[in-house]
Amino acid sequence: MARYVLRRLLLALPALFGLVILTFVLSRVIPGDPAATLAGDGATPAQIAELRAQYGLDRPILEQAVIHVRQVLTGDFGRSIFSGRPVAEEIAQRLPATLELTFAALFLATFLGIPLGLVAALNHNGPVDHLVRLLSVGGLAIASFWLAIMLQLVFSMDLDVLPLRGRVDVATGLPPRVTGFVLVDSLVAGRPDMFMDALRHLALPAITLSLPGLATIARFTRSGVLETLQKDFVLYARAAGYGRIRLAAIYVLRNAVTLVVTQVGLLFGALISGAVAVEAIFDWPGLGTYAVQAILSADYKALLAVTMVVGVVYAVVNVTVDVAQALIDPRVAEDAR
């Protein structure tokens, strides 16, 4: 098992290195001269040239690449062309907000999606099953920005039970930063009021973001359970007198979720890209809004850093998923040898 985890980790490294190179190449291919943007409309060619020199944009491309790789490896993403502040610092500020949102969405998707899929499969072709199928088609078909606005209209405007936007209430404020996760920090600070406030702010964006994932997970759980129910070992277990609930919720589900776990890994990428739109609508101070801002201002330093950080998070999630799968199904680790 330890060997398997190590192997997975080592396999993630070349992917990450590839990402470093690819982001660099892309940043040089995208149109727009960052120096010119930074210098402003009325800048003279001399001023632009000066800025180019300042950011190292006048050096040979290979040299720039080497510098880039070295910087990324040391966690130094340079200064933002837009704000002039260190990019690493800005990202560290915003990453927890995005992670908090995506993890909350993933949590909702998993812990609602799996039971829904299970119940649907156990009531195959029954009313619950049809409802879940409708939900899973709808969840994938509904555009998140539309859903976000509808949720805002109903829960913030009409019912006025949940906040419209933002991560915390201005009056309540942020807890002292420990992890950057408001839900965690508020508890560390011993402020349940802040925790509840953060939770209320998190609700609508997390629900919006979770819906496609919820739909996917419910669908894969459903088909996984239906497939597993056909297996001889289920018939055998019934003949041997396993309890109905134990059979469905543990014996069958564990086989069924191997499929689902793979999906969770893939979903995470979709969640992070989905977070861009959701963050914009809910004014969530995360990486998504940061990335949008970076794109609009041609801040390639910031964009590179965002891409790298998301790539690393994605790689970590997928290694975790691989390990989870090996824990669920012992054959996975052995087949990989």
Partner: protein
């Protein structure tokens, strides 16, 4: 004579599906005396598996409530879908490769059965299971508890499943062609093991097979099923030596050495949704009479504890067929 362990009386199972209504079993009666060994034999599709599923209370979806009674140790277990008899009926399934869940330890899967149906603590169950593993000659019984199914060979998995069948102190073992998925040498070992355990522990056995060789070795009595009905029943020796139903006679005539599988007779077993009227064997029968098409023949008792569902059982078969 004491009461039989298992008495299936007039069992009828009807399945509804998209393809229509199928009478999978019709008026089937089988008795397993205490300490007795009874074989059920027939081609695929004759209803053997459905019979076992009815006894084990795991009839497929779409099955109507079965007709008749299934008495286990004197109690009708049909109404509660065999729940009361679980544990007391040990089941050895057909395919050891597919019958264990690959993502759970084999030992844990058996311990779960024991947790539900056997007395005692988990520690006692473990101790008993290790003893059983020893009895079924699994190598390294202590370590076997912690292994996953894929870490065992096919023969070892069938030993595991035999241990599982024995785990809750059963009165009756039901085995569904437990050796068909195994290679020939392993088959012999498994059958010898099963026979040894049944004799040694004074258990009763209901054994389903399509292999007359196995049947002769293992079972004192036999019931021949054809298309969901009993064609013939009696002591295995007598039935094999002098079969009376045209179906049994053809089967055995096809294979004089009797050690091979039941294979061909002209025609095939009718589809369960399209059973012929009258005697279900009549479309393939060489000695068909006009009456055979009209009414299902009753099971006629014969001397020597035998029975046959054919009024023409004394007639010779035409020379040209079956030889």
């Amino acid at each position: 004579m004491s009461a039989p362990v298992l008495a299936v009386e007039g069992l009828g199972v009807r399945l509804r599906s998209d393809r229509g209504i199928a009478d999978i079993l019709d008026d089937v009666s089988i008795t397993v005396p205490r300490g007795g060994t009874v074989g059920v034999v027939g081609e695929s599709g004759c209803g053997k598996s459905t019979l076992l599923r009815a006894i084990l209370g795991i009839l497929p979806r779409g099955a109507e409530p079965p007709k008749g009674r299934i008495l286990f140790e004197g109690r009708d277990i049909l109404p509660d879908r065999a729940a009361s008899a679980r544990g007391r009926i040990g089941f050895v399934p057909q395919d050891p490769y597919l019958s264990l869940n690959p993502v759970f330890r084999a030992g844990d899967q058996i311990l779960e059965i024991m947790r539900r149906h056997a007395r005692g603590s988990r520690a006692e169950h473990k101790r008993r299971l290790v003893e059983l593993f020893r009895a079924v000659q699994l190598p390294d019984p202590e370590a076997a508890l912690r292994k996953y199914p894929h870490q065992f060979s096919g023969g070892q998995r069938q030993r595991l499943l035999i241990a599982a069948a024995m785990s809750c102190d059963p009165a009756l073992i039901i085995a569904d062609e437990p050796t068909t998925a195994l290679d020939v040498t392993t088959q012999r070992e498994i059958l010898a093991l099963l026979r040894g355990l049944v004799v040694e522990r004074g258990l009763s056995l209901l054994f389903v097979t399509h292999d007359f060789g196995v049947l002769a070795n293992l079972c004192a009595e036999v019931t021949v099923l054809y298309a969901g009905r009993v064609a013939e029943a009696g002591p295995t020796r007598d039935v094999l030596d002098a079969p009376r139903h045209p179906y049994t006679r053809l089967l055995l005539a096809c294979h004089p050495d009797r050690a091979t599988d039941l294979l061909g007779i002209p025609g095939t077993v009718p589809a369960a949704t399209a059973q012929p009227g009258g005697c279900r064997f009549h479309p393939r029968c060489p000695i068909i009479h006009s009456g055979c098409v009209v009414e299902p023949p009753p099971l006629l008792p014969l001397p020597g504890d035998r029975a046959v569902a054919c009024p023409w059982h004394a007639d010779p078969l035409p020379e040209t067929i079956g030889g």
